[in-house]
């Protein structure tokens, strides 16, 4: 393992890989800082570049963007009271009060150091846990993979929206979209309306671009001038003192550990981790009285937690092919575009890719720390970029990105079509991530179900007879049941609150 890791470092430190990793971190921080733009959108915009690069180089660049984006979200959370990404939502609670007290630099410093701690701890966990999980996953059979696909979809559907039915609908629409084209088992046209373009099905890149990037531009144009006149405070005195570091360090470590384990659970991610870490540290931190008024621990806990989800989220994606959150679902798509199929075999067939990701994640944390400290002073300028100019450029990038896949305008039309679908889904609270996951996991589910049924002579009970498959199916039912129960509980609480007011 140690030798493989050293080989990974040798790949990461090759000039092109290193330069692109720096580029990934820088783009991630900038994109994360701009409200409305997320790390997933950043990855999508870089995809046309990514699939022309060697897999290891491309992936470390995307990991850089992922981690940079997580930290970047805190910049606008602290300076504008508007989280750049949902993962920075809890950072607003103490980051902005610090900014109001003239300590914006200090808040950014705490944020970057905590993000670094979270990133390092999650990378260590990634290196220790992922190979072990992959070893277990090599024992999976066809029925297990089918049930795993169902589990991935249900957990993403239940975690990514307020309404489980809407999440499941989104996932089913994705599965249905994956059926369009020539059937992979028998080879007949399916739901193509005799259209030659549809025979090839929908490529993943236009779907990703449409659902995550174009839909966002369509949404933003509705209220375009909201953030035009934001006032941003000057940033100075970035580095906290040793005493201050000692004060927030326990919160950062607790946040990191929580973040890693939340990241591992498929369908969760930074937004859940940051609030959970904030609430727990609020109860146990020494400066808990200051929480909400500008406590450094109140910035450290959510920031370490959201960055710690990065390594955690990569674990199920790399070992099982099931993403840990929205960004890793986009990264899963990127891996497939590059020609790498995530799963346990990745660890045996492409160990150089796996270990370059491990090594890259380590280096990225240091790059992010350096970049964050050196550039914190200039972060207010990033927030002044007129977003009324940026969004039109993004839509052209989306057009060019979809076109570059096969040099046809058909893919661009598909991207625009999914952009319209994504816009309406966003407008009416249907999460987009299960749709994309349905498109990704659909073929895997169909092929493995077919294999399982062939092996068992069409005995559907094979799905319940194999222990791993049964466990995934039970977990799927539990995730749906928990989601329905918590929604009902919230509804009851809201009704009681409304009744009390009346």
């Amino acid at each position: 393992m140690f030798e493989s890791l050293l080989h990974g470092f040798s790949i990461v430190f090759q000039p092109v890989s290193f330069a692109l990793m720096v580029f990934g971190v820088a783009v991630g921080v900038v994109i994360g800082a701009l409200p409305g733009l997320t790390a997933s959108m950043g990855i999508i915009l870089l995809l046309p570049l990514v699939y022309r690069l060697p897999a290891s180089t491309a992936l470390v660049m995307l990991c850089g963007l992922f981690c940079g984006g997580m930290y970047g979200g805190s910049i606008s959370a602290i300076l504008l009271k508007t989280p750049g990404t949902p993962s920075a939502s809890a950072t607003v609670l103490d980051g902005y009060p610090l900014c109001e007290q003239g300590k914006a630099g200090k808040a950014l410093g705490v944020s970057i150091i905590s993000s670094f701690i979270g990133g390092i701890i999650s990378t260590i966990c990634l290196i220790l846990i992922a190979p072990q999980l992959a070893k277990v996953a090599t024992k999976f059979q066809a029925a297990d993979y089918f049930s795993l696909s169902i589990f991935g979809l249900t957990i993403m559907a239940s975690a990514s929206g307020k309404n489980i039915a809407k999440g499941l609908i989104s996932g089913c629409i994705g599965l249905l979209a994956s059926c369009i084209g020539i059937d992979t088992i028998v080879g007949v046209n399916r739901l193509t309306f005799n259209n030659i373009n549809l025979a090839g099905g929908f490529s993943l890149l236009p779907v990703l671009i449409g659902v995550f990037a174009i839909s966002e531009v369509f949404t933003q144009v509705e209220n375009p001038s909201v953030r035009e006149k934001s006032q941003v405070q000057e940033v100075k005195n970035i580095l906290p003192s040793w005493l201050e570091i000692k004060g927030f360090l326990p919160s950062a470590i607790v946040g990191s550990i929580l973040g890693v384990f939340i990241g591992i659970i498929p369908g969760t991610g930074g937004a859940i981790a940051c609030f959970l870490a904030y609430n727990i540290c609020h109860k146990f931190a020494k400066d808990r009285d200051q929480f909400g008024k500008g406590a450094l621990s109140g910035v450290a806990a959510p920031e370490s937690a959201n960055n710690a989800t990065t390594g955690g989220a990569l674990i199920p994606m790399m070992c099982l092919g099931v993403p840990g959150d929205v960004v890793t679902s986009v990264m899963l798509g990127a891996l497939i575009l590059i020609g790498v199929r995530p799963g346990p075999l990745l660890f045996t067939e492409s160990s150089d890719i796996v270990y370059s990701i491990f090594a890259g994640m380590f280096v990225i944390q240091f790059l992010m720390l350096g970049f964050g400290i050196l550039c914190a002073k200039y972060s207010p300028y990033v927030l002044k970029v007129p977003y009324t100019l940026m969004m039109p450029i993004i839509i052209v990038l989306c057009v060019v990105g979809s076109f570059s896949l096969n040099n046809t305008t058909y893919d661009v039309l598909v991207a625009l079509g999914f952009g319209v679908i994504g816009y309406f889904m966003k407008k009416f609270d249907y999460p987009g991530a299960p749709l994309v996951l349905g498109v990704i996991l659909g073929p895997m589910a169909e092929q493995n179900l077919n294999r399982a049924l062939l092996k068992s002579n069409n005995d559907w009970s094979i799905l319940f007879k194999q222990p791993i498959s049964l466990a995934f199916l039970i977990l799927s039912v539990v995730s749906i049941a928990v989601s329905i129960y918590s929604a009902a509980k919230k509804k009851k609480a809201a009704a009681m609150k409304a009744g009390g007011k009346a």
Binding site: K166, I214, L389
Partner: protein, 151 residues
């Protein structure tokens, strides 16, 4: 909180219609003796969509059909429709007019739609972005963007 019950009710009806259409369209596909045939998998998904559509319609109607939802931002929606229409027209004309000629107009139009006021800056950004992207893709990535009548 957004009240989307009216839309959800009609989405449910739409999903039921979609599932019936998928069921009908896959009816003629070949059957297999072992494993699953090409029509079986979409049909399983169609059944799921039917059930979920029914749940959406019934749950949103169970307390009576909502009289009115939230006030709709028609002005904002119109801007989205215009942008989507512009984007579709842009893509359809792209092979004939070419990327270098058409993109500055599309970009300028989109910038104005977003409400940016300085015309000169908008023109400069439109032209510079087009040239930059054209050079990046054609020269660096060797992806040849459509030239239209110029090619």
């Amino acid at each position: 909180m957004k009240d989307t019950r009216r839309v959800d009710f009609w989405t449910g009806i739409g999903l039921i219609a979609l599932s019936v259409a998928v069921w009908a369209m896959t009816a003629g596909l070949m059957k297999v003796d072992r494993g699953i045939g090409p029509g079986d998998y979409p049909r399983v998904i169609a059944v799921l969509i039917f059930i979920l559509g029914a749940i959406m319609s019934v749950t949103n109607c169970i307390h009576g059909y909502p009289e009115a939802g939230d006030k709709f931002n028609w002005k904002g929606f119109l801007r989205t429709v215009i942008l989507a229409a512009m984007a579709f027209v842009y893509v359809l004309i792209l092979p004939y007019a070419g990327f270098p000629v058409l993109t500055p107009f599309f970009l300028f139009g989109t910038i104005k739609l977003f409400g940016y006021k300085k015309n000169l800056t908008a023109i400069i950004v439109s032209v510079v972005t087009t040239i930059g992207l054209f050079l990046l893709f054609n020269v660096v990535f060797q992806i040849f963007l459509p030239l239209g009548f110029l090619g």
